[in-house]
């Protein structure tokens, strides 16, 4: 069959469209100076976290009581702690732990939250009411206490901190995803595939999930920041990583007894946490701007 005339084509390039779509995003991301700085910092953190420990020349856990609380020097860049351990080395080794806490807790909270959020937004009704009430309960429940309770039940360890912080971040994901699901669900293409006879699973995983991804990603980067802060707060309350793990929050918390005498014990881990959290906040912000068409100028 012939339809009148062929329609004029819009663009003539035959490039890979997937690449094109992401190129645009990347371009906008790169335009955001802060996001670039944040992104670079994150890359540095990740690289250091992975390869850094192989390049340190000291044992992060080797104690040397005779050299405790030494101030920063050429030998010990960030000084030594109350056991005479090298703080610089410990910070490098702690990087991956901090990252683990950030990533895994967000992954945990994200997976559960996204799942609940989609279910809630997609099916609505009683299910939605129930899930959202449960989320309200978790939100209303003082976060740090929830974490405290979880860590108390399961014992203090990195895994349990991750679980605690992860659960703590479930409602944030669930709410955001529910919101976006509700708006995506209203879009006509969802009805169109429904009208084609698509199953709920297909609609959820193929059509809704990919389209609620960008707020999830933004939320995830920002949540990593929050997670690291929460985890360090738990460490401060003595419920974080087990000694001698060089987790930054734990280092900070241990070091506070020496604050007057040897401020470098709290200064360096503190700065590292700030930088780490900052990097993710900045990057998350940039990502949000880049993903938000409204900000497109």
């Amino acid at each position: 069959m012939v339809v009148q005339n062929p329609i004029a084509d819009v663009g003539k390039r035959a490039t890979n469209p997937k690449v094109e779509a992401y190129k645009g995003l990347l371009k906008r991301l790169i335009k955001n100076k802060a996001a670039v700085v944040g992104g670079l910092l994150i890359i540095v953190f990740i690289l250091t976290g992975i390869v850094g420990p192989y390049f340190t020349w000291l044992d992060p856990n080797a104690t040397q009581i005779t050299n405790k609380l030494a101030p920063p020097s050429a030998e010990h860049w960030f000084g030594t702690d109350n056991y005479g351990r090298d703080i610089f080395t410990r910070i490098i080794h702690g990087m991956s732990i901090t990252m683990k806490v950030g990533f895994f807790s967000v992954a945990l909270g994200g997976v559960i939250g996204v799942f609940l959020g989609i279910i809630s937004g997609y099916y609505g009704g009683k299910m939605d009411t129930f899930i959202m009430r449960v989320m309200d309960v978790i939100l209303a429940f003082p976060g740090i206490l929830l974490a405290l309770a979880i860590v108390s039940v399961l014992g203090g360890s990195i895994q349990n901190v991750i679980i605690a912080v992860g659960i703590f971040s479930v409602p944030a994901f669930a709410r955001i995803v529910r919101g976006s699901t509700l708006s995506v669900r209203k879009l006509e293409y969802i009805d169109a595939v429904k009208a084609l006879g698509a199953s709920d699973a297909r609609i959820i995983f193929k059509h809704i999930l990919p389209n609620v991804l960008s707020p999830i990603i933004v939320q995830a980067t920002l949540r990593i920041a929050t997670a690291v802060l929460t985890a360090s707060g738990l460490s401060f309350l003595g419920l974080g990583a087990q000694p001698p793990t060089p987790e930054w929050g734990a280092m900070l918390s241990e070091g506070r007894a020496y604050m007057h005498q040897a401020p470098h014990l709290v200064l360096f881990p503190g700065i590292m946490i700030v930088l780490f959290v900052l990097a993710f906040n900045v990057f998350g912000d940039g990502l949000r701007d880049a993903l938000d068409p409204k900000m497109k100028k």
């Binding site: 084509d9 469209p17 009411t129 006509e188 009208a195 006879g197």
Partner: protein, 344 residues
């Protein structure tokens, strides 16, 4: 008449609960569609017109069970749809397709055109996977797109082209009936005409039946065989397009037709202007729903709901739901405060 009944809707109701009050109980309903019946025969185009919120889209969605109807029956091709299980319904969806208004929202932005069509065929198991690519290209050509556009994403197409993709998707499963819900309303006039022509050609070629939903009476007149006029969830008039456009009987239909500006500066510019706004479907007026704005309204209109009927001077199959069709026609009933306005 030897016309085959394609779709028979009877007593269809769609009420949406309004939650509220203490503990989020249902305190009221939006009576979006309130007891409507009509039949569509094979190969024809029936349009639903009416103002925003009168329940046009809801009617379409209920037929497709995108919204579970509150009440009523929908018989498609001899089979009752409302009682099918979800699973069985999915199989039947092959025959009933829908094209939406918004060319930007009606395609998943993360699928290429080929993905979209392939998925449709996968779901309904139309063809073995290997032969689908060929079919996709055929479909694209059918709707006036090119093969090289198959692997592009929706954002690379214009609105009119996207609407064509939507049409291709609907066609891909070889449907018998397509519901076009404002399928051309969002398009510019010049593009709208392209798509309308395409729909007409496809209908001819595949003996498609259309349920065409639109508030644009120009488009409706152009494309339809028969027209249903809805007001606040009810059908107020139904008939073939000549009856409706040239011999409207219901005061609402008349007002509607008269309110539309005509693109002809030489014509006399008189319009019946209805006073007031469309009432809310939550608490629709009792009796005839139009009585609050009707210049002919009498006491009985406030109490009794008129039923569709064919009166004198009305063609076969032309029905109107008004207590006073004949009185208005004969001029024995005069309009109160009947306002006529001139725009220019």
């Amino acid at each position: 008449m030897a016309k085959k009944e394609m779709l028979k809707v009877e007593g269809l109701k769609q009420y949406f609960p309004i939650k509220g009050g203490l503990m989020g109980r249902t305190i009221n309903h939006v009576k979006a569609v309130d007891d409507i019946s009509f039949t569509i025969y094979e190969g024809e185009t029936v349009s639903i017109v009416g103002e925003s919120g009168c329940g046009k889209s809801t009617t379409g969605r209920s037929i497709l069970r995108l919204e579970e109807p509150t009440d009523g029956s929908v018989v498609f091709n001899g089979e009752e749809l409302t009682t099918l299980s979800k699973r069985e319904m999915r199989k039947h969806r092959k025959d009933l397709q829908i094209i939406f208004q918004d060319p930007y929202a009606s395609i998943n932005p993360r699928q290429t055109v080929a993905d979209v069509l392939d998925e449709a065929m996968t779901i309904q198991k139309i063809l073995p996977a290997k032969q689908r690519r060929k079919r996709i290209i055929e479909l694209l050509e059918t709707v006036g797109l090119n093969e090289y556009q198959a692997d592009r994403y929706p954002h690379e197409f214009s609105g009119g082209q996207r609407q064509r993709i939507g049409i291709a998707r609907a066609l891909s499963v070889n449907p018998k009936l397509i519901i076009c819900d404002e399928a051309v309303s969002a398009l510019d006039v010049s593009i709208q005409a392209q798509v309308l022509n395409l729909l007409e050609e496809l209908q001819e070629q595949y003996q498609l039946t259309y349920l065409f939903i639109s508030h644009d009476l120009g488009v409706v007149r152009h494309i339809s065989d028969r027209v249903i006029v809805m007001y606040l969830g009810k059908i107020v008039e139904i008939g073939d397009k000549h009856s409706i456009f040239e011999n409207a009987k219901h005061p609402y239909t008349k007002a509607l037709l008269s309110a539309i500006p005509v693109p002809d500066p030489t014509r006399e510019k008189k319009h019946i202007v209805l006073t007031g706004d469309v009432p809310s479907p939550i608490d629709p007026p009792a009796g005839c729903r139009f009585h609050t704005r009707c210049p002919f309204a009498q006491d009985i209109c406030k109490k009794e709901t008129p039923v569709l009927g064919t009166y004198a001077a009305m063609a076969d199959g032309h029905e109107a739901a008004c207590h006073f069709v004949e009185e208005i026609e004969s001029g024995t009933l005069q309009a109160k405060e009947f306002e006529e306005t001139v725009f220019g």
